[in-house]
């Protein structure tokens, strides 16, 4: 892996379509944060320092004075726990990178640019700076659209009517194709889908991503150890 300025620019440009989807949600966050009683400064501060949409929306629901500080912090932790799993998967792509480059890139880690970068790397991409470049692009989109949403204030609080919530589903369906290796992925993916759907029905919050991913990965791990031991036995015979 290398880490070049060209990789940053490349990531930035490639993430522009995704930034459109992000912006539609940033607008809504701006609107809702104003309605929840945040000042413009606090709204921008949150979008630019937290930069994690799902947790920011969850916190808005709790934004009543006196602020339930610990509930807010725990909710932030729970909703964002999935980043830990994503971080684990970045190790082999960030090997040899300086601490500054790694930990700066990690600030810009969100679902969309992580999934995009992983797909690119899986399919031959060798520039570790893709995550940073695409992250900066989505960051700009998120912060600017928060600002615009806050200023406009209303009238755009219903992106579902225009199908904008589906933009992310479409993006991830596309990226899932790039993640597919071979038929050994099938069963882990089916288990992940089943567990995540079930969890989303049974447990409130955002546990479904973590539960689905852990169940699916364990399935994959167990299955691959079976196929491997089968191969070994075959070799002996």
């Amino acid at each position: 892996m290398n880490f070049t300025f060209k990789g940053i620019i490349d990531g930035f440009v490639k993430a522009l379509p995704i930034a459109v989807g992000v912006a539609s949600y940033g607008l809504v966050f701006g609107v809702l944060s104003k309605q929840a009683g945040l000042s413009l400064f606090h709204s921008i501060l949150m979008s630019s320092s937290v930069f994690a949409g799902a947790s920011q929306f969850v916190v808005l629901e709790m934004w009543n004075f006196p602020l339930p500080i610990f509930t807010i912090w725990i909710a932030t932790l729970v909703v964002n726990l999935r980043h830990m799993l994503m971080g684990i998967s970045l190790r082999k792509h960030f090997t040899g990178l300086s601490k500054l480059k790694s930990y700066l890139s990690l600030f810009f880690l969100v679902d969309e640019n992580w999934a995009y970068s992983m797909t690119e790397w899986k399919n031959g991409g060798t520039n570790a700076a893709l995550l940073l470049g695409s992250g900066i692009c989505l960051f700009c989109s998120w912060v600017i659209s928060t600002l615009i949403g806050f200023i406009i204030g209303s009238g755009i609080s219903n992106p579902e009517k225009w199908g904008m919530d589906f933009a992310f589903t479409a993006i991830f369906i596309f990226l899932a194709k790039g993640m597919w290796s071979d038929k050994s992925d099938l069963f882990p993916w089916v288990v992940a889908a089943g567990v995540s759907v079930l969890t989303s029905k049974l447990i409130p919050g955002h546990w479904y991503i973590i539960f689905g991913a852990i169940a699916g990965s364990l399935t994959g791990g167990i299955l691959s150890s079976f196929t491997r031991s089968k191969e070994l036995n075959y070799g002996k015979n």
Partner: protein, 102 residues
């Protein structure tokens, strides 16, 4: 609640979020290469995270989402253009939500 401490609530959120972003990577880097069985499990994380993110939206949020998802899946097989997939998906959902009472 004094107004001055709102910044700290938000900065606390930011630190917690950054912690979730760096801790998995930090841990993985510190432990280095793990036993093969564990590595074989970790290898499935990226794909299964992506599937887990979309599965409820695809399978558990009504017929419109399911049909649009299937359309996106088919287009993804044919096209390497993320914009086409995204625009088509959003357009299908928008049209169906506004004009087809499902």
């Amino acid at each position: 609640m004094e107004k001055i401490s709102i910044e700290w609530v938000i900065i606390g959120m930011a630190l917690i979020t950054y912690f979730t972003r760096v801790s998995g990577f930090w841990l993985a880097e510190k432990t280095g290469k793990l036993p093969e069985k564990v590595e074989n499990t970790l290898k499935y994380i990226p794909g299964t995270i992506i599937i887990s993110i979309i599965a409820p939206a695809v399978f558990a949020q009504g017929t419109i989402n399911a049909m649009a998802s299937f359309a996106c899946f088919l287009i993804s097989l044919k096209s390497d253009n993320i914009v086409i997939v995204m625009v088509t998906g959003v357009a299908i959902v928008a049209l169906m939500r506004n004009y087809i009472p499902l």
